[in-house]
């Protein structure tokens, strides 16, 4: 049953993401791509949409994938799933927060989870890079394809601006403009 599967998949994603924003990306990528719920390109396109619309990344992602797979009810199930774990955990923790904060077990686990998220986002970055630069798999033709160089140039400019603390939405708009320009020129 697709609705139950959507709920359960996003419940697991919600329960195993520590830290906000892109920390969720590796889990979403794995779940969505292995189940064939979205193409790699569509997923990256949607990251851009999510950056340019209000609200938390996790909610945007869950709603979008849910809608793609199961319509309105699908998006309700996925969103409910991703929200539920934090909702339950916070309700439990809010009662005895002092104990929780000083707990050696929680601190110990967090000392492993924080660097883990860095490694996992590194893996997600690699897989996004593969989709951007070699969408058809690695062949020699990528060296003669102007699209490869266009993507490299846009990536370079965007990275430069991102590290200059330019707003993500401005970067997305610029790379869209460069993409259109390049698409018609090349």
């Amino acid at each position: 049953m697709i609705f139950l599967e959507l709920f359960w998949t996003f419940f697991k994603i919600g329960a195993f993401t520590f830290g906000g924003g892109y920390a969720m990306l590796p889990l979403i990528q794995e779940a969505v791509l292995t189940k064939g719920w979205a193409e790699p390109e569509a997923l990256i396109n949607f990251i851009a949409v999510s950056e340019s619309t209000p609200g938390p990344f996790a909610i945007n992602m869950a709603t979008y994938i849910g809608a793609e797979v199961g319509g309105v009810f699908g998006s309700v199930c996925a969103t409910l799933g991703v929200v539920m774990p934090s909702f339950i955990v916070i309700l439990l923790v809010a009662r005895f927060f002092e104990k929780f904060k000083e707990s050696r077990i929680v601190k110990g686990c967090m000392s492993g989870l924080k660097p883990a998220v860095v490694g996992l986002i590194g893996a997600a970055l690699l897989s996004v890079a593969v989709t951007v630069f070699i969408p058809e798999g690695f062949t020699l033709s990528i060296f003669t394809d102007p699209q490869t160089y266009l993507s490299l140039a846009i990536f370079g400019v965007s990275a430069f601006l991102a590290f200059r603390k330019i707003h993500p939405i401005a970067i997305i708009c610029l790379s869209a403009a460069l993409g259109i320009l390049g698409g018609y020129v090349l």
């Binding site: 390109e41 909610i59 709603t63 929200v83 492993g112 996992l120 699209q147 698409g183």
Partner: protein, 184 residues
């Protein structure tokens, strides 16, 4: 049950959900302004507490914060209403967009635009990775876990849930060993 308070909780978090882009920590200043300065529901210390909780519990920071503040202000129903308020704006907007997006992607110029955008998104993820790297704990163990999580996922194709559990256990065991040594 105080319905006026619940309604006002809903409105505040609906506003926060509707006007913050990017989510996560970008939301904290707005939450502080609305719930501490304007409504005086909680204090600045509570905000610090929320950040600490959000960092050590699973799930999106925005949801953690909405549930926590809602609970503080009006118990279980407050938590429910606050969280609902936070989720509803993005849910509605994305649902509408998801229908338009597919039609939109048939246009050639839009396809070109997204070819460019994907390269831009790669840069945004790189920046996010850099920020998280800076915030992560330093030290040899931490670097080993970073490399381990990366390799287990990319080379050995481990399920990410298992990678996360293994890393949490590694952190727990090593911190217990360090504590025991310090105790002796």
């Amino acid at each position: 049950m105080n319905f006026r308070k619940l309604f006002s909780l809903f409105c505040v978090f609906f506003r926060i959900g509707a006007f913050t882009f990017g989510g996560g920590y970008a939301m904290i200043p707005l939450i502080q302004k609305e719930t501490v300065e304007k409504k005086k529901w909680i204090t600045d210390d509570d905000i610090l507490e929320i950040v600490a909780i959000a960092e050590s519990t699973p799930g999106p920071i925005a949801i953690n914060a909405a549930t926590f503040v809602g609970y503080r202000v009006a118990g279980f129903w407050g938590a429910l209403v606050g969280t609902l308020g936070m989720v509803l704006p993005s849910f509605t907007i994305i649902l509408l967009i998801s229908y338009v997006l597919r039609e939109f992607l048939q246009i050639e110029a839009v396809q070109f635009a997204f070819n460019g955008i994907r390269a831009g998104v790669l840069a945004l993820i790189l920046k996010a990775l850099w920020n998280m790297c800076k915030k992560a704990p330093k030290g040899i163990l931490s670097y080993c876990i970073m490399a381990g999580a990366f390799l287990l996922t990319v080379v050995f194709n481990w399920n990410i849930l298992y990678v996360i559990i293994a890393c949490a256990l590694a952190g727990l065991i090593s911190s217990l060993i360090i504590a025991r040594r310090a105790g002796k």
